[in-house]
Amino acid sequence: MSDSSWESPGPEPQLAELVGQWDYSTLPANVRLGRECFLETRGVVGPIKTTRDPALVIGDRTRILSGGWGGSMTIEDPGMVEIGDDSVLIGVQIMCSELVRIGARVLVSYNTVIADSDFHPRDPDLRRSDAISGAPLGEWFGYAPRYSAPVMIEDDVTIGINTLILKGTKIGRGATVLAGSVVTADVASGASVQGNPARQVEP
């Protein structure tokens, strides 16, 4: 019989790490947390690979949870991620190299991926030089510049499970992205979209 439970982890440090009861002051200095934020695990706000300050801004009372398979925010130079007040994100994977801005009262459900770049160049020769540069003990040519464009998610947006939000998209205020969608273009305020690529549907 154990005295620990998910709602009151008690003295178990292994459990406390999994339910948001860890020392948020150990986060990097370029992370700005609002009041009463909840970060379920250390992993949901990292890895932060940029020295930009601030690199990550999280609003008041925003909750970021790990889904079944975790969640992460990879922020590379010169990227910045901003999340507004009272938003709830669970199991989201953000890959940022320029700007990902998420508004207030936004709800992002399980296993959503938000990426503001293509990660690699379109030119196959440049891609090959990237591959060699990134390989274990590969020759260093430096990475080619990547094409990126900001992702803007406005206030009161709802994003369903298993969704992909790709670079350069703006999701208008109050819009709904239904489960399993791949968002490749702007979504109008208040609209509902579904499918791959996401198209407007009747709400």
């Binding site: 019989m1 154990s2 620990s4 439970s5 998910w6 709602e7 982890p9 178990e12 292994q14 459990l15 999994l18 339910v19 909840f38 009372r61 909750r63 949870l65 889904g67 079944g68 398979w69 007040d85 009272d86 938003s87 709830v88 669970i90 009262r105 936004v106 709800l107 992002v108 459900s109 399980y110 296993n111 009161d156 709802t158 994003i159 369903g160 499970i161 298993n162 709904t176 992205v177 239904l178 489960a179 399993g180 969608s181 579904q194 499918g195 791959n196």
Partner: protein
């Protein structure tokens, strides 16, 4: 044999936490870890009921809200879906569920205890019924309002939120009926695409 005793730790678990006491597990039911109950906040009795000989493998999660209830029949293979609901989910017997599957009461569920000021989720949610002998493919989503008949096959990546007749095969996002798989062979209209 009993693997899972509500209110106690699993003898083989890596986590020092007990299985919630408001659960029921049948004879020979297997659960990989109490980690499955990390977001479990059901106040129902039981909040989760699992039948005999049913196996809940790695990465299965019960993100069940205070009013939520999940019932799973006998001889099911539950290979790592996330049950995210504050409503009722009934899964029949002999059901296969693949991994990265979501069985969720709405399109964008988050655990009820962190809705906060967004106040979305509860009203939109609906019950789910999955019949006996269903087969749910990888990365699919079975959402609130889905009523799967007997032997329904849900293709990989499908998103289903409607009533599906017995032995239908559904696929796509949004899903549609793409074929039939009844016992012992095909119906005469097996090649006909519906909807």
């Amino acid at each position: 044999m009993t693997f899972v005793t509500p209110g106690e730790r699993l003898p083989y678990d890596w986590l020092p936490v007990a299985i919630p006491s408001n659960t029921e597990f049948g004879t020979n039911a297997y659960l990989h870890s109490a980690f499955a109950f990390r977001h479990y906040r059901s106040r129902r009795t039981p909040g989760v009921r699992v039948g005999d000989h049913t196996a809940l493998y790695d990465s299965t999660m019960f993100d069940v809200g205070p009013d939520g209830h999940v019932s799973i029949g006998d001889y099911c293979v539950i290979n790592g879906p996330i049950f995210a609901t504050d409503h009722d989910v009934h899964v029949g017997s002999y059901v296969y569920v693949s991994y990265e599957v979501y069985i969720a009461d709405s399109s964008a569920p988050v655990p009820s205890w962190c809705w906060g000021e967004t106040r979305r989720g509860r009203a939109a949610g609906r019950d789910i019924v999955i019949g006996d002998d269903c087969w749910i493919g990888v990365r699919s989503a079975v959402l609130g309002g889905a009523v799967l008949g007997r032997g329904v096959i849900v293709g990989a990546g499908a998103v289903v939120d409607f009533e599906v007749p017995d032995f239908a095969i559904v696929a796509g996002n949004p899903a549609r009926v793409v074929g039939w798989a009844p016992p012992g062979g095909h119906r005469p209209d097996a090649t006909q695409r519906l909807t």
